[in-house]
Each structure stands twice: as C-alpha cells, then as structure tokens.
Amino acid sequence: MKQTFAIGIGGAAGQGVATPGDIFAKIFSRRGLHLNAYNAYQSIIRGGHTFLTIRTGPEKVTNLGDRVDLLIPLNQDAMDRHLRLLTAGAACLYNSDTIKPGVAAEGAQLCPLPVSKLADITRNKVAQNTIALGAGLSMMGVGFQALEEVLAEQFKRKGEAVVSENIGIARVGYEYATANFRPFAWPLPMTGNRSAVLSGNTAMAMGGAAAGVKFYCAYPMSPSTGVLHWMAAHARRAGIMVRQVEDEIGVVNMAIGAAHAGVRSMCATSGGGFALMSEGLGLSAMMETPVVVIDCQRAGPSTGVPTKTEQGDLWQMLGAAFGDYPRALAAPLDIGDCFKVISEIFNIADRFQCPGIVLCDLLLSEGRLSVDPKDLDFDPVIDRGELITNASSVSGANDDGKYKRYKITESGVSPRAIPGVPGHTHTAASDEHDEDGVLISDEFTNPTKRRVMMEKRMRKVAGIEAAVPPPVLWGPHDADVTLIGWGSTKGVIEEACEILTEQGILANQLQIRWLVPLHGDAILDILKDARHTFIVENNYSGQFARYLRSETSFVPNGYIRKYDGEPFMPHHIVEAVKEQLSGKTKLSVPAHEILV
C-alpha cells in the first residue's frame, strides 16, 4: 500500500475550516507531496457542520482513503461526530478550554491544547486554529519554517504586526506539541516534485481556456459555480467573453448563438439547470452548431441536496432533448482529466457539429487534487473541423456551385460557414430543413427529404465512434474480480483494487470515460473473460448498469451503490466485494461512517 497521511478538520461553516485546510495543502504541495482534498459541507453560509479531509503522500493520492490520521475538531459537535473515526496511531488536537473529548480508540492519542493559556484569545479569534496548525505540523515532523513562510504570505496584506502575531501563536502551538505530544510514526517526507493544486471546476474552466473557448456563460448553480468564478476572474486576461445570464434556458441558447457566430462556446450547470437546457441541446444538434455543456452532478431529484455528490444524471444526459441526434458524452475520471477532457470534447463537437456534454460531479468539481503542471497543457490539439471563416476557405459548394449548409455527405458532416462570410448566406433552422436550409417541416413536408436529412445527421455517430478511443482494462488480466465504474469513481476503485489484491483477491478495473459513444463491443470483449464483475456507482438505481445492459445485454454479478450524498471510500467497495463473493447479496449499499 502507498503511504499516505490524512487530516480531518471539522467545524461549523464560518468557523474557519477552510484556512487551516488551505495552509496544510500549500505546505504539503511545497514539500513535493501529492494531495487530494474534499470538503463535506451543507448549503448554509454560517453554522451547520463541515468536514474537510486532506490526504497527502509522496505518490499520487487518488481518493480520500479510509482513515483519518489527524483530527482537528473546531467545536464540540465535530469532536462528538468524528472522534470515533480514529484508530491506533491517529491523534486528535483540540481546544481543551471549550471542547470535552470523548473516549478515543486504543492507541489513538488525545492532544488537548490549553488555548487560552497559550495565546491571547481576546485579541485573536482564530487562535485555536493557528495553534492546532503549528501543533499538527510539529507532530508530522515538518519544520516550522514551512508554516512561517505560508503564514507570512497569508497575512501579508494585513501588515507586519498581524504576520508576526500569527507566526508567534503558531510557534507556541508548535513548541507545545513538541514538548507534550507523541509525534506520528511516519514523518512526512519531502520530494522534489512541484505540483499545482486545483479543483475540478478550475480544471474545466482552464481546460476551456486552453481549448480556445472565447464565450462562456452560466447561471449560478452548485456545484458548477466554480467554473463561472474562474472564468469571470480570468476572462479579461484570457480574452474570453463571460456572461451571467437570466436562466439556464438563456445560457444554452446564448452559448449556441456565440458558437454559431464562430467561437468555441461553453457553459456549465448542475442537474436542475441542465433540465432547462434540454431543448437547447436539440437546437445545437438540429442546426449542427457545436456547443459544450458541463453538468456537475449533485444529489437529486429536484433541488435535491445542493452540496452533496451523486452520479444520478446519466439518464438525463442520455435522454436530453427529444428526437434522435448525435451527441458526445464524457465523464472525466479525475481532476486532471477535467482539464484534458474539455479540449478533446470540443474537437469532437467541432468536427461533428453536435453538442458535447461533460458529465462531472461534485466530488471532482469541488474536490482538490495536486497535478503535475505539465499536465495543464495550454497548447492542446485544436481541430475545428470543416469550418468556413472566410470566402477563400473551403467553399462547401455543391455541384451547382451554390453553397449548401446541410449538404448531404458520406460522413454526415457538411462544411459550416459562419455569418459574415460573403457568398454563403443560409438559414440554420431548428425545424427540419433540406440541404439548403429551407424548412420542410411546415407546408412543404417531404418524407423523402426528412429521411435523407435524418440519415445525414445520424451518419455522424459512426464518425464520433471512430474518433473516440474504447475503454481499456486496468490491472491484471487474470483477476478474480473486475470492478466496473464510470467517471469520478476511478481513484477510489483503483485503491479498492489494490486493497483487495493485497488481501488475496486479485482485482482489476474497467473505468468508463466516454459514455457516448460507449463502445459496447469493446466492453463486451473485455468482460467476456471476467470472473466476477461488479458495477460501482454513486446512485440509487444503477443508472450505468442499466445503460450498459441496454446497449450490450451485459449483466454483472453484482452491484455496489451509494446514494447518501457522500463519495465512496475504498473500504466500502472492498467490504461490498467480499460480502458479494460470499454470496450474501447482489446489491451492496455501504453506509457512510463520516456523519456530516
């Protein structure tokens, strides 16, 4: 097993959980460590309960893991909820002035901090957080200087006095812990790596900028809003027009308008907003104007649980808008992939002049991961397909010399002229039309033409399939257990496979990234030799399992599902696999132990 170290910080919203979290993250990444962070929170600005987990280690940290090594409860509630998560070797740092500890597990260390004796708490309201930061780093074997540097940066704007006051408080905590508490058995190592730490939302926004997006619009909706925030903050430097629109119907239509005029255009939302965009996706497909829509899933239905994760929107994506039309649908596998997938799907959408949908979820959107800065490539391949941007580029003319926007072609793709190009005027219509763009849907309805146009558009499906790689199996080919997942569960399933293998159950993984096209034949080919197959997904009804069955007739041996709003932890999957191998059940629904 890879060596990792996880910190859990719990408290009420507004109590400053984020700041120590950010400082730990910064110190870890500057030591060359990888990290993965996730904040379990509620839709409340003050109060409630939030629990931030940061897991770090010298190798890639793909998920939140199973254990908390250091717990920092900022209030009694956090202590009461989480102390029971600690096992031998772990420690809990708490303000003993205000918080009563519970009973800790055998070998878990309770570390009381007499905050009011260590600092002037009337002057510094967050002294307990700063003392805990210092104490924690001491126990992790991290030199004080690292903290000193970050605090100096953090408080620079507030002046020298504030900087030295905070450094002083942190040092007291650091020294108190050195004198009074047992250090962790595994001092945090250092590596020469340099990584960037970012959320999936930031990654998708930056991925858009890298792909050449020049128009981005949105209506705020958790957990997609981070994309808007990054775009808005960087728009002027990146040369991107960013608009906040009156509703998601306006969003998708405005994005399509901009795309039609020739720019790469993107928008993001969550399930509810996506529902409003549905008709617009059909418009994109019918006018053959490419647009990329990101759906950051949260727990549904309806307003649902705005701050909790789920993979419950798959069938909405598959069924979005009525009628048959070509579309591309990809679910990024991790936060680094959130960046990459955007330029890939734009190339597909542009080449095949159809909507591209990125199906993300809160876990990736709002989680944070360290990535190699080289993986944030701002020079990706840009393929705009058959686009006519001036009178001298591809004319798209038919035999009669006249431009036909919806020219019947073998590939189904017709050269697309953008407005402003002389000699290519045409009308793009949401009504069914002929090659010229003339409507056939009203009084000229013509079954022959309708069929020809339908087949033209649908021929693009084969092109998309050829342009997108089929999934591959990860891990040993002769495994006992094959875990099948899609999108954001990649990391946690990967770790579950490692644990199972360590425990003598050889496991491998099939993780689906492209949902449309699915490459059903390739999947069947991979699975035909699998011994025990389990489909792991974050929803109630097994949306992917049902989709896979409808496309391939494949039925797995069992299902592992979770729909309580929180992501899987590796042990959930490991225990479910064992339970199913023993024949107890075919459907496991693990219970989440961290109560937030």
Binding site: A209, N253, P419, P422, T427, D431
Partner: protein, 298 residues
C-alpha cells in the same frame, strides 16, 4: 443597432429575396414587415452577408427563411438569447431579431426583459397580431380582455401586457411601434432601429387575417396616429413616452416613442471586445498569461 455602410457592391431588393417565397396566408401582416425590412437594408446598403436575422418559432418567426441574409430559426421564445450570443461573438454583424407576440412576450418574456436592460445592440421586431397564429388561433399575451379564441372560447379574462410600457420600464434605449400597412413609416422606423446603438424594440401591428377577427386592418386604421405628426412630442422624454404608451382604443400612437443614446451597448461595455470580434480572435492565449494561471495554483 449600429452598423457600417457598405463601400462596394450595391445591395438591391432582389439580392434580399429568400430561397423560398413566404408561405404566410394571403393578406397576412407579416408580408409588409418583410418588405419594409428589405427596403430598409437596401436604403442603408448593408451587405446581406453581414446581417444575421434570428427568430424563434411562429408564423412570424418563419421570417429568416424569406430573406437572403444569414439566418437562424431557433427555438420558440429563445431568439433574443441566441442573438445576444451572436452579437457578443461577432459585434461587426448587424443583428435583426424577428418574431411574434407569443414568442417574445409569452414564452420568451424573461429574455425580452433582460436583453433590454443589457442594451444588446440589435433590432428586435415583433410582428404583434395579438394571437397565436401558427398554432391556429389561441390567446396571446397581447390579446385583449374578452377576446374569444379557441383556447378561451368564453373570452379572455387576463389583462394583456403592454409591450411599449414594458420595454420602456425594462430600459430599452429605442422603443417604437409600427403598422404593417404603413410601409414608408415602418421602413423609416426599421432604419432608425438598425442605426440605433443599443437595444431597439419595434412592436409592429401585423394583423393575422385568419385567426384574429378583432384586431383587423379595419380596426387599426382609424385608430393609429403617428407620433411624428405631433410636433410637440419629444422622444427623448421618457415620462412622455410612458404616458403615450398607455393610450389605446380610440387613439393608438405609432412611431418612435423613445430613444436615448447615452447608454453603452453590452458589447461596447466589455473591454474583452476592444481588440475586435471574438469570432476572428486568436484561439491561443499568450504563454506568459497561461503560465500565470498555473502559477496561481502552486
């Protein structure tokens, strides 16, 4: 709606004829609107490839197919949202939005209000026939109280919207009303609307001869009075415009109610567009800028 005059290639009405002839009912008011738009484009000499005509869905919304410019025949109610995207992606284009009263004030009401407060630089022409034509005659948001239609056979009990007052209240910077049967007057309003820098709203009485037997040409003719004939009327006076917008029944004003030119357009207010239209911008971001984006995360 600002525009640049064509230097070369004379534009004639024949150049603006669409690929098919309109399929509107003989006598439909929309013919007059089409003719006036074509005349206005000829008089302004705007090359047709620099014009995008964008509509929603309805009889009136079939308009883009009947004029030879770039066209988009979008979704019911969504033309203004699409048009805003087009204008922001390429602000060198002249954007015309055409549609019906149901399309614009009913299903598209939200976009109508917000496009006006944004001062998107385009001309929005509503062919207002006080009825849903394409769906064969149901009550529309501008149908009068008491009007009997297939969907309200015992008479409409809901008050209609007043598009002119609504536009004034929402911050439209050019507000006018025309009558399809008043060709010269209408053409003049369209020209002014195209030339206005900002959101130009033009509500046009465009009778539906098939389904609206209340608001016919005969009904409108004696009632419409041109604001231009009232020498004392000042279209820079918003309060006066509001007052005029409330007149109905015996005297219904047509003409330019209001215009102000001191409000920046949406595209003019955004520095990202200073370097020119995005549709022709370099897709790659300079390396020093992208490096700074990554540095922020380290």
């Amino acid at each position: 709606m600002a525009t640049t005059l064509a230097a070369t290639n004379h534009v004639a009405v024949a150049d603006l004829k669409g690929k098919v002839d309109p399929d509107w009912c003989p006598g439909c008011g929309d013919f007059g609107v089409l003719a006036a738009v074509q005349k206005a484009l000829v008089e302004l000499q705007i090359p047709n490839h620099n014009v995008v005509t964008i509509s929603g869905i309805g009889c009136s919304s079939n308009f883009p197919g009947f004029i030879n410019t770039y066209g988009m025949h979008t979704l019911h109610g969504r033309a203004l949202a699409v048009a805003t995207g087009v204008k922001l992606a390429n602000h060198d284009l002249t954007v015309l939005v055409t549609g019906g009263d149901g399309d614009g004030f009913g299903i598209g009401g939200n976009h109508f209000v917000h496009s006006m407060r944004r001062n998107v630089d385009l001309l929005y022409i509503v062919m207002d026939n006080q009825i849903y034509g394409l769906t064969t005659g149901q009550t529309s948001p501008t149908s009068r109280v008491g009007m009997k239609t297939k969907s309200m056979p015992f008479g409409n009990i809901e008050a209609p919207v007043n598009p002119i007052s609504l536009a004034l209240a929402a911050g439209a910077t050019f507000v006018a009303r025309g009558f399809s049967a008043e060709q010269k007057h209408l053409t003049e309003l369209i020209k002014q609307g195209i030339q206005h820098k900002g959101f130009s709203f033009l509500d046009v009485f465009s009778p539906c001869v098939t389904y609206n037997h209340d608001n016919t040409y005969q009904w409108f003719r004696p009632r419409v009075k041109k604001l231009e004939d009232d020498t004392g009327y000042d279209s820079a006076d918003w309060m006066a415009a509001m007052g005029k917008s409330l007149l109905w029944d015996t005297e219904i004003p047509i003409g330019k109610f209001f215009e102000r030119t001191d409000v920046p357009t949406l595209h003019g207010a955004e520095p990202v567009l200073d370097a020119g239209p995005l549709a022709h911008a370099d897709m790659r971001i300079p390396g020093d800028v992208t490096r700074s984006f990554v540095e922020e995360l380290m």
